[in-house]
Amino acid sequence: MEEIYAKFVSQKISKTRWRPLPPGSLQTAETFATGSWDNEENYVSLWSIGDFGNLDSDGGFEGDHQLLCSIKHHGDVMDLQFLDQERIVAASSTGCVTIFLHHPNNQTLSVSQQWTAAHYHTGPGSPSCSNAPCTGVVCNNPEIVTVGEDGRINLFRADHKEAVRTIDNADSSTLHAVTFLRTPEILTVNSIGQLKIWDFRQQGNEPTQILSLTGDRVPLHCVDRHPNQQHVVATGGQDGMLSIWDVRQGTMPVSLLKAHEAEMWEVHFHPSNPDHLFTCSEDGSLWHWDASTDGPEKSSLFHQASLPSSPTIVISRAQGSPGRQIAREPGKRNSFRQYIVEHSKGDRAKWKRTGSNTLMTMQKSEESRMMKKN
């Protein structure tokens, strides 16, 4: 049975990201970054679950997470992305976007580039301009795109001091997340349930396309693009619904799946095996969706007919034993072990899956508990 190692870290974690591996590497990711939120002092930290020479009998790692280094971060960490192996981009609730540089030699983090007030409000109530939280960031080295509560989209380049391109008033409501489509196109989701596609080649502040679920205007909180099929995106909404869209066809999602009971905070395709999808939610659960096991013929996730109506893993809240719950779906054989992780408190879990067999989740909220399974 897989084991989960939990550790309280005395801060509320908002995001965790695995450090990318050098191309062609067959190793398992061992280092991840975390960002905290809602603490009096927030930090961006690097952790390692890597080998410290103490492999246990099964050849797995000793379960403890080791703090490599951390650096103070002004404001809540709203989003976090690795730009490359050494650099981490953090989006702050103060509207600031910072690139942190990791020095592996002496295990320290330093600020390598910072755009203060990348997102800001202008209005009668604010003296000159007040900062607006930056809600999402996406990287495609050297390009960095950020979105914020001010409805602004910024395009930065890691080596440029000023923003390369800014779209003011891109959205009348809050932009929650952003992802690259085909370069130089990006896709944003907002708080009135719309997906907007932007093309940086075009001037002006009009999107090239708007997609939305008609009528209900449910806010969308997260978006991820299929790693191989660039026209397929998955979004997660306030009602916990998972939607799969084909941006080439129409303005409606190709499939809608009832998932979590509360806000879906993050959705990610598995980078090398995109039939697998992971979602996590305010209800404290992390779901693993598997489109490859359902149905006799191999089907793709966005074909409604063959899509499982429920995830391959179902979460149950066991009585009296909150947190650290693992269940395994019997009788399913595939290359990924299926399990669920439930957190004790309705708080968001953040996770990311790497190429091999390590999954790490963190409970954001009450306190962060880090978990790992082999």
Binding site: S93, A132, S172, I192, T214, G215, Q238, G320, S365
Partner: protein, 656 residues
């Protein structure tokens, strides 16, 4: 009436001179703001001298400790689990569950204590290190009290097993002996070690007789003269009757056998078997439970409750729970010997031995600096159904009162407010009200945090709070010139008044700029449009523009007219609407029918006749009036021409 059990503690605020300056204060959730007020306007120098600070006094400073934060978080999980324990579970299984919960709490305290201890050791000399060590001793006292309460109130051990539990309790908390043992056994010649006899005595005092016998055999090996005596004493230790958990013997049998054993020890002492070796003789006296001999070992016993348990072990092994307090009181008196007075911890333990739960909780509340301990212990004891009869003259009952005090400390903390919510949830009487008051006061720095707070409120159907939070966010958005966001929030709050206000801002902006902003939102209002009349108008008016843009003039015209006739459009806006009708009236084909034109005319007349006549118009107003008059003239002309055309058209159509 309320009485003070002890003098309230005085908190000194550095930098404030309360004798010279006036002070004012204000309560916050879990904290207090104090500042100096100095209204002396005559002498300016006096004002400068005043201290320009606002001091925050926190009630529950432990909440801010990074290590204790782990305690709060981890125990929160146990607390929530405990609330879920099925009420149907009765008898043994229920008791086993509750004991397990209690042990979980204790293990969390211990884990926290160990971590704190590591910090204290690492940071030995600084003030911080000292602070850590004092925290360690507080945590250790907490665990000591909790453990005793677990034995007496939750486990409810009967005579016999009771003593075994108490022995475990003492062994767990007086643990220096293990280090000593390792030290002695690690030396070259253990029996010659300077602490050898201390170690043996401590082992006997803690009832660890097997280990003591092994030690004695080492002494016998190296010292042949006392080998015989060691063997006899070892035999006495071996034959001491004890209650073993698996054994079926009755208490009476045990008492009988114990009496025999006791007499044998007595006989050896009388015969002077150990007379030549003072160490062995004093050990034998300990086995006899001799008060004087035990008190000689005061140093090794280190505290009165250890003395109590050892005394019971060797004189009253089958002590009944009800008699405990008698022995406890006399042990305390003997141990302190009138030299010092009992400390708060002694009082708490004594209250526990007297089975006075309320006294235990009261003393703990007074002695400990935070509510964590009493809140969780009281809750657990309440689940054991031990607190039903007690009523307070404040709050609803003791459990709720303490839990809510603890929760309000959590709400005052920057990040722990999410924990507080669950504590409030499990207080049936006042929890909800308390949550309602606290949740509105959580600072909302980002929309994401606001969404989390909103989710908490929505799950609990706290509509009033949802409204107020959305309103705060909408207000913020308006101040930041984010009208789209503001409208979204007021729609979510179903706040018609605010939606009207925002819609007016949109319309005003339109009049000033001649184009709409935030079309992505207005075009997608959907059913939310019905929230307020003004919002409906905004949506419909935008629809008119879209129809016009798409050159669907007939639809656009009837929509425009219906906006006025159905009274959705505000009067002030009619002139704009009529002006919008102008290009439609001037189109080549006839768009407004004769009937519609009549209606338009009526609207125009309504508007012009209803205009109040001002007393003395200024120049600006005269100019405005001039423009207005011209507009009306143009409109009348256009309407008349359209009427003529439509009558002809309708007439000829009917004719054909």
């Amino acid at each position: 009436m309320e009485e003070f059990d002890s003098e309230p503690t005085v908190t000194w605020i550095p930098g404030v001179n309360s004798q010279k300056k006036q002070m004012c204060f204000d309560w916050g959730p879990g904290e207090m703001l104090v500042c100096e007020t100095s209204f002396n306007r005559k002498e300016k120098s006096e004002m400068v001298a005043g201290c320009p600070f606002i001091h925050i006094i926190r009630k529950d400073i432990d909440v801010y400790s990074k290590i204790l934060r782990k305690l709060f978080n981890e125990s929160h999980g146990i607390f929530v689990g405990l609330q879920r324990i099925e009420e149907e579970l009765t008898g043994k299984s229920r008791k086993a569950q509750l004991v397990r919960v209690s042990k979980n709490y204790r293990s969390v305290i211990r884990a926290c204590m160990e971590e704190m201890h590591q910090f204290a050791v690492a940071d030995k000399d600084s003030a911080r290190g000292r602070q850590f060590s004092s925290q360690v001793s507080i945590l250790s006292a907490m665990e000591l009290i909790w453990n005793l309460c677990e034995i007496l109130f939750i486990e409810v051990a009967p005579a016999g097993p009771l003593l075994l539990y108490l022995l475990d309790w003492v062994r767990l908390h007086v643990c220096e002996v293990d280090n000593l043992s390792a030290d002695v056994l690690g030396s070259e010649n253990p029996s010659k070690h300077e602490s050898f006899w201390n170690l043996v005595t401590t082992l006997v005092l803690q009832g660890r007789l097997d280990e003591a016998r092994q030690m004695l055999s080492k002494e016998a090996d190296t010292n042949p003269t006392s080998a015989g005596m060691c063997r006899v004493l070892g035999d006495l230790m071996r034959t001491m009757p004890v209650l073993s958990p698996g054994n079926t013997q009755t208490l009476t049998e045990l008492e009988l056998r114990w009496q025999h054993w006791h007499e044998e020890c007595e006989r050896h002492l009388q015969d002077g078997t150990f007379a030549s070796n003072p160490h062995l003789e004093s050990l034998c006296k300990v086995l006899l439970g001799d008060d004087a001999a035990l008190l000689e070992q005061k140093e090794l016993l280190s505290n009165w409750y250890h003395f109590l348990v050892t005394r019971l072990l060797y004189s009253q092994p089958t002590v009944k729970p009800m008699d405990l307090h008698l022995y406890a009181q006399s042990s305390l008196d003997l141990f302190l010997g009138g030299e010092s007075s009992p400390e708060p911890l002694d009082n708490i333990l004594m209250a526990a031995f007297e089975f006075d739960i309320h006294q235990v909780i009261k003393e703990c509340s007074l002695a400990l600096s935070n509510w964590w301990f009493v809140a969780h212990l009281t809750d657990l004891l309440d689940h054991c159904k031990l607190l039903q009869s007690h009523n307070l003259y404040f709050g609803s009952n003791m459990r709720e009162f303490l839990l809510l005090e603890y929760a309000s400390g959590l709400f005052a903390h920057h990040s722990l407010w999410q924990l507080g919510v669950d504590y409030c949830d499990h207080c049936p009487e006042l929890g909800r009200v308390s949550l309602e008051l606290h949740i509105e006061r959580i600072p909302l720095t980002t929309e994401q945090k606001a969404l989390k707070v909103l989710r908490v409120c929505e799950q609990r159907q706290m509509t009033e709070q949802v409204r107020s939070i959305c309103k705060i966010l909408a207000m913020k958005a308006v101040r930041n010139n984010r009208l789209g966001s503001a409208l979204s929030w007021s729609i979510r709050a179903k706040d018609a008044a605010f939606a009207t206000l925002v819609s007016d801002r949109f319309l005003r902006d339109y009049c000033e700029r001649g184009c709409f902003s935030d079309l992505d939102l207005i075009d997608n209002l959907g059913p939310a449009m019905m929230l307020s009349d003004r919002l409906t108008f905004l949506g419909k008016y935008r629809e008119f523009h879209r129809l016009y843009g798409e050159k669907r003039f007939v639809d656009a015209a009837s929509l425009l007219l219906s906006l006025m006739t159905s009274q959705i459009a505000p009067r002030s806006f009619w002139m704009t609407l009529l002006t919008d009708a102008l290009p439609l009236l001037e189109q080549k084909q006839v768009i407004f029918s004769a009937e519609q034109t009549y209606e338009l005319l009526r609207c125009l007349e309504d508007l012009t006749s209803g205009r109040p006549l001002c007393g003395e118009p200024d120049v600006q107003q005269l100019q405005d009036d001039d423009i207005e008059t011209t507009k009306v003239e143009i409109l009348r002309l256009a309407l008349a021409r359209n009427l003529a055309r439509s009558i002809i058209k309708e007439g000829s159509l009917e004719g054909s």
